[in-house]
Symmetry: none
Subunit: 249 residues, 2 copies
């Protein structure tokens, strides 16, 4: 295979799948990974793709990439996401907030899952769109600049019209007395509406945030059904939450 031919093939693959791995390309084309790396480097120099550790990403403007390395406690968050996946079943309607833990979950959803995800978070929605069998509903309203999530009365009204199976919530602070709390008025309103419109609410948080609090309450501790952290479920710090009747895992 000619070099240019190979690079054209790679470019095609990148644009098709939004990402490629050096290892799998090397196997597909039967050349060494070094060669693939050099090709990716050249294509990246020409601005046609974005080179990352292990492969490359498409240059396309609508792909938001959160380099995993920059996400705080990335490993913990992926652990959390893995625990949540089994609770998402075919046919479900699911409301989700934004946040890096939710993004992590979106990335590891099994490809064959058929469900409807409803969210106001643009980064989350873009991740859901990568899954061919997932229907994605975007909740509209004013877009908050830093969190890239829609907030406001329209969004809340829309959420209140729903009655979904599950709410997946990324949590900023949680403790026994104050329940779930946050520090952004608009986002709290959205989260509040989401828990109220869902039959079941799963909270996802890294253990650092356990037993902390913020000024505005989303809901009391009784308002949630399941709490997922990266810790072992029998960890002592989680005991009070089990006592409060929350399923912990």
């Amino acid at each position: 295979m000619l070099k240019r031919e190979r690079q054209a093939y790679i470019l095609h693959q990148v644009n098709l799948h939004n990402k490629v791995l050096s290892s799998s390309l090397s196997e597909e084309i039967s050349v060494s990974e070094d060669t693939i790396r050099r090709d990716l480097q050249e294509l990246a120099d020409e601005g046609k793709i974005i080179k990352v550790h292990g492969g490359a990403l498409s240059q396309s403007f609508n792909y938001i990439n959160y380099p995993s390395s920059k996400v705080y406690s990335h490993d913990h968050k992926r652990n959390i996401a893995r625990k949540v996946v089994p609770h998402i079943k075919d046919g479900m309607f699911i409301l989700t907030t934004g946040g890096t833990t939710i993004i992590e979950l979106a990335r590891i959803l099994p490809p064959q899952l058929k469900a409807t995800f409803i969210s106001g978070s643009i980064p989350a929605v873009l991740e859901y769109l990568h899954h061919p069998n997932i229907d994605v509903i975007l909740i509209g309203d004013r877009v908050s600049r830093n969190s890239k999530i829609t907030v406001g009365g329209e969004a809340i009204a829309k959420i209140k019209q729903l009655r979904v199976d599950l709410c997946l919530m990324g949590v900023n602070a949680i403790n026994i007395n104050n329940g779930i709390t946050d520090n952004d008025w608009d986002i709290v309103q959205i989260k509040k509406a989401m828990t109220e419109s869902a039959q079941k609410t799963i909270c996802m948080t890294i253990s650092e945030k356990i037993n902390s609090f913020q000024p505005i309450q989303v809901c009391p501790i009784t308002g949630i059904d399941m709490l997922v952290t990266e810790l072992d479920p029998i960890d002592a710090i989680l005991e009070p939450y089990r006592q409060a009747g929350i399923e912990v895992l």
Copy 2:
């Protein structure tokens, strides 16, 4: 075998297989590789094939994988965007569709502009968010996977509630008889609602799309107020549109 004959054979092989190797050609025709190289070089100079290290590729192969028109019309699109900017004033409410021309416009908006942009296009919204003084409203509904734009009844209903100053529309096809046309049912419905909710509609399109048409109509030619292309406004191809009372620039 004569030189002419040989080159004709090579050209045929290139067009048949999309690529040839100097080595295998040399063997097939029983001439030295140097001769093959010289032939390939000549054919390349005539623009009939593309010479690469080790052989040659067909022209069409190159077009498919490296759309040269991409960067070509990219400049056109930025030109168009530049012409539109002066028509966007402080305090305006503006509905926009998606599309690369719109993205280009979003990127060059002056930083001090204070306006409200309303759109269902996720890529466009992400661009608007980069501007600190622009309020961004996202129109919610089901997200179309390919175009990353929200479509459906909810979105249309929301747009119809609005009465904005300006609609900026990326156009897929336009001609005098059929007006603005497109090929995606859902997106046509959205565009239709947008023009109806705006006091003024500006259409943006590269000249390639002028005098073409698609199966579904967005609005007749009288439905738009301004047409912006990369061409000089006095270009003959635009004359009919001026005659129809559209401001052309």
